[in-house]
C-alpha cells in the first residue's frame, strides 16, 4: 500500500490526465503551498503542485537569470518542455521571489487558459493579515467561479476543508508512528506520501493513507534504523539524495519542508466561523515559509521541538542553492539546534546533486554521531 505513493508521484502527469478524462473537471497547477487547496477543491478543481523533474535542461536560461534557485528553473523547464500541457490553469500565492519568476515566465511562454496571482500577505504576524487575506480570498473564489462556471457555496467550502483536513490529520497520524524506536517507514517513503498528496485527489489520497496506517501498524524498516535524523529547509523532493543518506546508516524520522510537515501540519479549524475566514486564519497561522517568518522567527522553536519530540540526534539542513529566505534563517536554526545538542550538516541542493561529493559529507557526519569507540 505504501508503495502507491511513490507510484502516484512518479506517474503524476498520467494521473492528472486520467482524472480529467474521468471527471471532466479542470486541473489547476500551483506553485507554492500557500495556495488554498480547500477553495480549489470546493470549486471542483484538482489542484496539483508544479514540481521539477531533477533532470538537466537547457530551456530556462533565456527566462531566468542564473542567480535564482534551481527549483524555480526546474519547475519552469517542465512547462517550457510541455510536460504540463494538460493544465487548465495555473496559480501562485505570493511567497518568495524565486518561484514567482517560474510562474510569470510560465504565464508569458506556456499557453494557459487561466492564471491567478494571489497576493498572500507576508506580514502574517500582524492582526491586519487575516482581514486582508479574506478579501483576497473573496476575489479568488469569484475568479474560480467565473472560470469553472461552478458557484462555490459555504457547504462546498466546508466540504473542501473537511477533505483537506482529513488528509492532514491522517498524515499526522503516520508521522506519529515515526516516533517509534523502530519507525515503520523511511524518510523517503514519507516524502512520497506527502508529495503525492500535492499531486492527486485529496479524498483518494486520504483513503490510501488510511489503508497504509493499518499496514504500518506492525511494519518495520527491515534494516537497522541507524542515526535518527531531522531533515529541514526549502523545497525538497530529491529522492536520490534522501535515498543516499538513508543508505549510509541513518533514517529520517521527521522534517520541516514544504514538501513535508510545513504543508500539512496545521488544520483549518471551523469553530462556527465562516469557512473563508477559517481558511484565511489557517494560512496566516500555519508553520511559515521563512519569507513570512518575521519579525519573530517562529519556525526556530518549532523545529527544535520537532527534533526533540521525534528524538533526532542530528539535523540535515538543506537549502535550494541561492534561496535567500532560507539562507537568512539557517544561522539562527543551526545555533538553536546545536544548543540543544544536535549536530548539523548543511548542504545545498541543485537540480541534481553531486551524490559522490555529498556522500562523503554525509558519512563523515554520521561518523560524528556514531558512538562506536575506536579511539
Amino acid at each position: 500500500m505504501i508503495d502507491t505513493f511513490q507510484e502516484r508521484y512518479e506517474n503524476r502527469h498520467e494521473y492528472a490526465k486520467q482524472w480529467k478524462d474521468k471527471t471532466g473537471g479542470k486541473v489547476l497547477g500551483y506553485f507554492c503551498t500557500y495556495v488554498p487547496e480547500e477553495i480549489c477543491i470546493a470549486a471542483g478543481v484538482l489542484p496539483v503542485r508544479i514540481l521539477g523533474s531533477h533532470e538537466p535542461q537547457d530551456v530556462t536560461e533565456p527566462h531566468i537569470f542564473a542567480m535564482y534557485c534551481p527549483f524555480c528553473r526546474d519547475c519552469l523547464a517542465q512547462g517550457l518542455e510541455g510536460k504540463y500541457d494538460y493544465l487548465d490553469g495555473i496559480s501562485i500565492a505570493q511567497s518568495c521571489l524565486h518561484i514567482r519568476q517560474a510562474y510569470t515566465s510560465w504565464e508569458l511562454h506556456v499557453p494557459t487558459d487561466w492564471s491567478y496571482y494571489l497576493p498572500m500577505p507576508h506580514h502574517v504576524q500582524s492582526p491586519r493579515a487575516v482581514p486582508y487575506l479574506l478579501a483576497e480570498y473573496e476575489k479568488f473564489k469569484k475568479a474560480l467561479e467565473d472560470w469553472t462556471g461552478n458557484k462555490i457555496t459555504d457547504d462546498d467550502l466546508k466540504r473542501g476543508i473537511e477533505t483537506v483536513n482529513k488528509d492532514r490529520q491522517l498524515m499526522k497520524q503516520v508521522y506519529e508512528l515515526r516516533k517509534r524506536e523502530d519507525p515503520p517507514l523511511s524518510g523517503l517513503e514519507s516524502m512520497y506520501m506527502v508529495v503525492s498528496s500535492q499531486l492527486i485527489d485529496k479524498g483518494e489520497h486520504a483513503r490510501i493513507v488510511e489503508d497504509s496506517l493499518k499496514e504500518l501498524e506492525d511494519r518495520t524498516l527491515g534494516r537497522p534504523v541507524g542515526q535518527r535524523l531531522i531533515i529541514l529547509g526549502s523545497e525538497n523532493d530529491d529522492h536520490e539524495f534522501i535515498k543516499m543518506v538513508e543508505s549510509c546508516g541513518s533514517t529520517f524520522v521527521i522534517d520541516d519542508h514544504c514538501t513535508g510537515t510545513r504543508y500539512f501540519w496545521d488544520q483549518v479549524s471551523l469553530n462556527g466561523e465562516d469557512p473563508l475566514t477559517a481558511i484565511a486564519k489557517r494560512y496566516v497561522n500555519r508553520v511559515p515559509c521563512p519569507t513570512k517568518d518575521w519579525p519573530v522567527r517562529t519556525r526556530v522553536p518549532h523545529i527544535v521541538s520537532l527534533a526533540k519530540d521525534w528524538d533526532a540526534s542530528g539535523a540535515v539542513i538543506l537549502q535550494q542553492k541561492f534561496c535567500d529566505p532560507h539562507e537568512l534563517d539557517i544561522p539562527a536554526i543551526k545555533s538553536a539546534l546545536e544548543e540543544e545538542g544536535l549536530a548539523t550538516l548543511f548542504l545545498e541542493l541543485d537540480v541534481t546533486v553531486p551524490i559522490g561529493q555529498f556522500k562523503t559529507r554525509v558519512e563523515a557526519f554520521l561518523e560524528i554521531l556514531d558512538e562506536e569507540d575506536l579511539f
Binding site: E55, P56, Q57, D58, V59, T60, E61, P62, A66, D350, T352, V353, P354, I355, G356, Q357
Partner: protein, 257 residues
Amino acid sequence: MISAGIDVGAKNVKVLIQEDGKVLGKGSVLAGLDMGADIKEAFDAAFKDAGIARDKVEKLYATGAGRNEVKDADDSYTEVGADAAGVAYLYPEARTVIDVGAEEGRAIRVDERGKVVDFAINERCAAGAGAFTEAMARALEMPLEELGKISLTSTKAVPMNAQCAVFGESEVVSLIHQKTEKRDIARAVHDAMATRITSMARRVGVQPEVALIGGVAKNVGFVESLERDLELEVMIPDDPEFVSALGAALLAAGIAK
C-alpha cells in the same frame, strides 16, 4: 586585395591571409608568455604557408582578446564582430553562430546582411568551453580526439553535473568507480557541455541555419551531443578555429562589412 587577419586568443594565436575571398595561407601557434614573439611566429608560419612575402599584405586587422597587442594592425574588431563576418562569408544563410573556444563560448545571432543582432557569452565558467573536455580527457587518461570518437559509440545517456571543470574530474572519477563504460562517460561529458552551450545559445534564440566554429567544433563527440540538443544539424567549416581570423581578414579587405 591581399589582406590578413590575426586572432589573438586565450590559447592560440592564429593568422590567416586571403586574397579576394580565397585563403592563401594560415598559421597558428600556442600562446606562450611572450605575446610579441607568438604573434611574429604565427605570421611567419602563415606567410610560409601562403608562399608570399610580408609586404604583399595591404591591410591587417586584429581580433581576439589580445588584439591590442598587435601593434601594426590597421584596425581591430571584437571576436563577436569577426566571427559574424567570417561566418557570413562562408555561410550567408547562417543566422546563428556558435563559437566554442578553449576558455569561452559565444553565441551570436546575425541578420541577412551578416550584421550582429544579439550575442551571448558564457559567464565566468569554463564548464562550457574547451577547457572542460580537456580536463575530462585528462581524467579519463585518453587523448582528446579519442574522447570525441568513443563518445559516438555510446548508446546510453548518463546524467552528469557539469558545474565546474575541476569538479567535473571528480564526477568522471566517480563514474569510473561505478563501472560506467568509458564511451558512456565520454558522451556524458559532451552532453553536459552541450547542455551549457545550448542554454547559452537559447538566450539569443537559435535560428537556423546554425554555424559551429572554434576549436571545439573539431570534437565529433561534442558536435553530436550539440546537434541532439539543438535538434538540428550544424554547419562546420573545414578550419573552424580560423573563422575569426578569416573574418578579420575579410573586414580588412572590405569584403565583409
